[in-house]
């Protein structure tokens, strides 16, 4: 059965936020240049959606953000069926972390657009790579902290290497992987928007720059509002999937 607690909580926060906004913007703060009044936002919403091709922009950004968890999950599968044993022996997480501290992610879109151009395909590719790298660092780090007793017990029970390193440890990593992918999905919005700002692809990033150029605060408001709603809804969908996949973890621990 679907747990409605999150829905109810969301509806409550949404209603409170909306009422606070309406109360402050329409009655307390005097009419100003930066914060659009509720009436103005509602009135211009339809025009904005049509004129700015808002839904296309949301579609592109949202689709690319979904590719970060995809990259993360692909990396998990690669690790599960490839390098767990290797990762247990060599702690590469510190090397990877150090590398990406020296070359921050912000540099990658610049390099990408310089080398490959600003095609939408590369926007997807960029997010897969970022997701993959983040996940790899995290997984190597988590693997190095795993309880080695499982390996000793597995060996003495006569389990094969595949059963120990792929099936058993892979399954043990799953809850951590889910937590990390959820976090990656949130940061993916930042990466997507960043890539769009640099590349000029028609997503929310470009729209953000346009709204700032035209001082269209209603548009800016709408962008952040839609991002918040999408993050919440996808987070909720994510939780439902998590409940199905890591069914064995009690709710109080998740």
């Amino acid at each position: 059965m679907v747990d409605l607690t999150d829905y109810k909580r969301f509806a409550k926060y949404f209603a409170i936020s909306l009422l606070t906004y309406v109360f402050f913007v329409d009655w307390v703060i005097p009419s100003n240049y930066y914060v659009p009044s509720t009436f103005f936002v509602l009135e211009s919403a339809y025009t904005m959606i049509v004129d700015y091709k808002f839904l296309n922009a949301v579609g592109l950004t949202f689709a690319t953000t979904l590719f970060v968890p995809l990259g993360g999950f692909a990396c998990f599968l690669l690790t599960k069926y490839g390098v767990i044993k290797f990762a247990l022996r060599n702690n590469w997480s510190s090397i990877l972390t150090l590398t990406f501290r020296i070359i921050p992610y912000i540099m990658i879109p610049f390099l990408f657009t310089q080398v490959f151009g600003s095609s939408i395909i590369f926007q997807f590719l960029f997010l897969i790579i970022v997701g993959g790298i983040e996940q790899k660092i995290f997984m190597f780090d988590t693997i190095s902290k795993l309880d080695r007793n499982f390996i000793s017990a597995g060996k003495s029970l006569g389990l094969s290497d595949k059963e120990i390193y792929s099936d058993m440890l892979g399954q043990m990593l799953l809850p951590f992987v889910f937590g990390k992918i959820h976090y990656l999905f949130l940061s993916a919005w930042g990466y997507s928007i960043l890539f769009e700002i640099i590349s000029g692809n028609y997503g929310l990033g470009t729209l953000l720059i346009k709204s700032l150029e035209f001082h269209d605060m209603a548009m800016l408001f709408l962008i952040f509002f839609v991002i918040a709603v999408l993050i919440y809804l996808s987070g909720f969908a994510f939780k439902l999937v998590e409940k199905k996949v890591i069914y064995w973890i009690p709710d109080e621990i998740k």
Partner: protein
């Protein structure tokens, strides 16, 4: 009665290098035998290398000097000090995963014997240490182990009643499975005496066998056993011996 040998350890010596680069002698010239269907307990102080010793006995660690062999063709199974049952499988699946060749009836028998009847479809909660220990024991039995090595398995169990129940369970299982030998390493003298028919006292840094004590008391084990005169005398004796060897110990460290 002459007992059959199942494990024989001869002149075990092992060094390890700690994180500061110092070589520490963990075991020195340690020899002992373990006999079929005789509950053996290893009593050793904290940090004396009980886990390392059991890893050697389970053939998980082969980096040592000395001779070690088993006289049984079946498996030596190690149950580590932290729970290792799979959380993503229920009780039945956990046992079936190891005992793939066993029939449902045989698995059910193991489940009944370890006291998990009625919990077959239950998933182990991470903090239910006692419950997970029962699953680990059941899995070892499903693996048709000739020797089950238990590494200080009660150290995470804080509840007295649960601990007594599990101690009694091990005592009972030792009687039911006469082809399986249990070896239990602990730093708790009372636990060691409660279960041990052969008690090995081991020193620390370097680990040496201090003495082998036979506990011939075959009385039914329950809470009252802790007040038994034999138990109290034996505990006193072991305490004195351990105190004496620990006071004269010297740390064997080389750069």
């Amino acid at each position: 009665m002459k007992l059959n040998k199942v494990l024989e350890l001869t002149r075990l010596t092992k060094d390890y290098t700690n994180e500061n680069g110092y070589k520490i002698r963990l075991f020195e010239e340690m020899s002992f035998d373990i006999y079929e269907n005789q509950f053996t307990t290893i009593i050793a102080p904290v940090g004396s290398g009980k886990s390392s010793l059991l890893r050697i006995l389970a053939f998980v660690d082969t980096d040592f000097i000395g001779d070690y062999r088993t006289f049984s063709e079946s498996r030596v199974v190690l149950i580590p000090d932290t729970p290792t049952s799979f959380q993503w499988q229920n009780v039945y699946e956990n046992i079936k995963y190891i005992g793939r060749d066993l029939s449902d009836l045989e698995i059910q028998k193991i489940i009944d014997n370890v006291g998990l009847a009625g919990y077959e479809s239950q998933y182990p909660h991470p903090s239910a240490v006692g419950f997970r220990l029962r699953i680990s024991i059941a899995r070892a039995l499903a693996a048709n182990a000739s020797v089950i090595l238990l590494d200080n398995v009660f150290h995470l169990i804080k509840d007295y009643k649960t601990k007594i129940d599990l101690l009694q369970l091990l005592w009972k299982l030792d009687k039911i499975y006469d082809k399986t030998t249990f070896v239990f390493a602990t730093d708790d003298i009372s636990e060691g005496i409660f279960l041990g028919e052969q008690i090995l006292l081991i020193n620390k840094f370097p680990g040496k066998l201090v003495e082998i004590i036979e506990n011939s008391n075959q009385e039914e084990r329950n809470e009252d056993y802790f007040l038994n005169a034999d138990f109290l005398n034996l505990r006193n004796e072991i305490e004195q011996k351990m105190k004496a060897v620990l006071n004269q110990k010297t740390l064997n460290i080389t750069a």
